[in-house]
């Protein structure tokens, strides 16, 4: 799509060159984008309506849960927009209910990693051996008990971290920056599958 190519080029061009006209246009485009992107945030709710509405209509397995989901979603929206996001009703849903659900859900992941570490993280090849070896060593660096056993763990750990780990990530960052340029080129050319098909 031509519009994509034009906008990408304009924004990139304006950054490197001092052309007031281009800057004005690009500034405006960016401010519009702030508003258009806000619209996309609302789409999630509509999408849920479609999926779960269909489930309820079809009386799928556990359709009552879908009803509950839609009910609680509408409730949040009504409280947030009609009575205002600083009212107790909205705050109750968001701060007293969601805060606890969301926080705990984050924690689950750590437990899954723990059991996976126990069952499947095996030094089955040299790659994995390096990975697990570093993992074990870093346990001593990360937690205070390591220093208590031997002061050297802190020294080795921080050396490994600042030199080896951060350099490896530097390599990844440089590589992915170049990769992002390639994606950009494909988008401008309209040759990125899925995205620029229109």
């Amino acid at each position: 799509m031509l519009i994509t190519a034009v906008i990408v080029s304009l924004i990139v061009f304006e950054y490197f060159f001092d052309v007031p006209a281009a800057t004005t246009v690009s500034e405006n485009v960016q401010r519009w984008a702030v508003v258009v992107m806000a619209f996309t945030l609302g789409l999630g709710a509509i999408n849920l309506f479609q999926i779960h509405g269909a489930k309820v209509l079809r009386k799928d397995k556990e359709w009552y849960l879908s009803v509950w989901l839609l009910f609680i979603m509408v409730l949040t929206i009504v409280f947030g927009i009609v009575s205002g996001p600083f009212e107790d009703s909205f705050r109750f849903l968001y701060e007293d209910v969601f805060m606890h659900l969301g926080g705990t859900a984050t924690a689950l992941q750590g437990f899954f990693i723990l059991s996976a570490a126990y069952r499947t993280f095996r030094a089955r090849n040299l790659d994995a051996a390096f990975l697990i070896g570093a993992g074990i060593l870093m346990c001593f660096y990360q937690a205070p008990f390591g220093v208590l056993i031997w002061k050297g763990f802190d020294v080795i750990g921080s050396w490994l971290f600042t030199v080896a780990v951060s350099s490896a990530f530097r390599g990844i960052i440089i590589g992915s920056a170049i990769g992002a340029m390639a994606v950009g080129v494909r988008i401008v050319l309209g040759r990125e599958k899925g995205l620029a098909g229109g």
């Binding site: 950054y15 500034e27 960016q30 401010r31 984008a33 702030v34 508003v35 258009v36 992107m37 806000a38 945030l41 996001p85 600083f86 968001y94 701060e95 969601f98 805060m99 606890h100 659900l101 969301g102 926080g103 859900a105 984050t106 750590g110 437990f111 723990l114 059991s115 570490a117 126990y118 069952r119 499947t120 993280f121 095996r122 030094a123 089955r124 697990i132 993992g135 074990i136 346990c139 001593f140 990360q142 937690a143 205070p144 008990f145 390591g146 220093v147 208590l148 802190d154 921080s158 971290f161 600042t162 780990v165 951060s166 350099s167 990530f169 530097r170 990844i172 960052i173």
Partner: protein, 276 residues
């Protein structure tokens, strides 16, 4: 061999239970292990100490309300530190989940002499991801019409002489991933040359931020509970994070034993297969 086999077949749930035990026991009976202060935390702390009073600081919150129970005290501590240095703090969020957390942080401030709208402000959420950041950095004063609570910006005296990133002396970001370090340096550090520091990041993301700290694009970072504990020490206000580090130690002992045990079992199994 049979003992090893038994140790190899512990149910996942037992592991989870052990994790809980490792966390709870030190909470009830603290051990008090020493905490060395890392370079990364010290850099953030010293930068705040070195700023001229009256300069603008962006306090950018990308974490959601769910992080309040476990890191809220740190957010408040940092904001109080900024205010005690007489800095003008502009709170903003580039992730939709952030503004309420900012609101909660502000509600829990213990200092009473600082005034909302004069010394600090919560501008709320700017949508648009990097486009939002870019617009905010370029001309924040024309982007906003109200603060998060709906007060028109004309009534907020803190914003009178604030135009955007050019006026800022420090960008302090609190992030759990995206948006995060990459976006900060792309939109704030590189184009405007303002110092960027990470006020809080999760431990898992720090390896990918480290290259930027080593290259001095980012000054430093407060990393997870460890960083918070160090920050508490630096502020001279020992609190919940220092206490929590004991739990961390026990959890890491558990992780260590799990990794080693699993691999011992793996190699023992391999050897016995060879013998057969």
């Amino acid at each position: 061999m049979s003992l090893l086999k038994k140790l190899m077949e512990i149910d996942n749930r037992i592991l989870y239970l052990l994790m809980f035990v490792a966390i709870i026991v030190p909470m009830l009976k603290p051990i008090g292990l020493p905490i060395p202060i890392s370079q990364y935390t010290a850099e953030v702390y010293n930068k705040i100490e070195d700023l001229d009073s009256g300069s603008y600081v962006i306090y950018s919150m990308e974490l959601g309300i769910s992080s309040w129970p476990w890191a809220g005290e740190h957010f408040v501590l940092t904001l109080e530190h900024l205010l005690s240095r007489n800095l003008k703090v502009i709170c903003v969020s580039f992730s939709a989940s952030g503004p309420y957390l900012l609101e909660k942080v502000i509600q829990n401030l213990k200092t009473t002499e600082k005034v909302y709208g004069v010394d600090y402000v919560n501008l709320g959420f700017v949508s648009g991801g990097e486009a939002g950041m870019s617009s905010f950095a370029r001309d924040a004063n024309t982007l906003f019409t109200t603060d998060f609570g709906g007060t028109p910006i004309e009534e907020l005296s803190i914003l009178e002489s604030f135009t955007g990133a050019n006026d800022v002396s420090l960008f302090l970001g609190f992030t759990g991933g995206t948006p995060g370090a990459d976006e900060y340096i792309r939109q704030f550090q590189a184009p405007y040359e303002i110092p960027v520091a990470i006020g809080w990041c999760s431990s898992g993301t720090i390896p990918s931020i480290a290259p930027y700290i080593e290259s001095r694009q980012i000054l430093g970072a407060v990393v997870d509970m460890k960083g918070c504990a160090e920050y508490e020490l630096l502020r001279g206000k020992p609190g919940p994070f220092i206490a929590g580090m004991d739990s961390q130690s026990l959890v890491y002992v558990l992780v260590l034993s799990v990794l080693i045990l699993g691999n011992i079992g793996f190699f023992a199994e391999k050897r016995s297969e060879k013998n057969v």
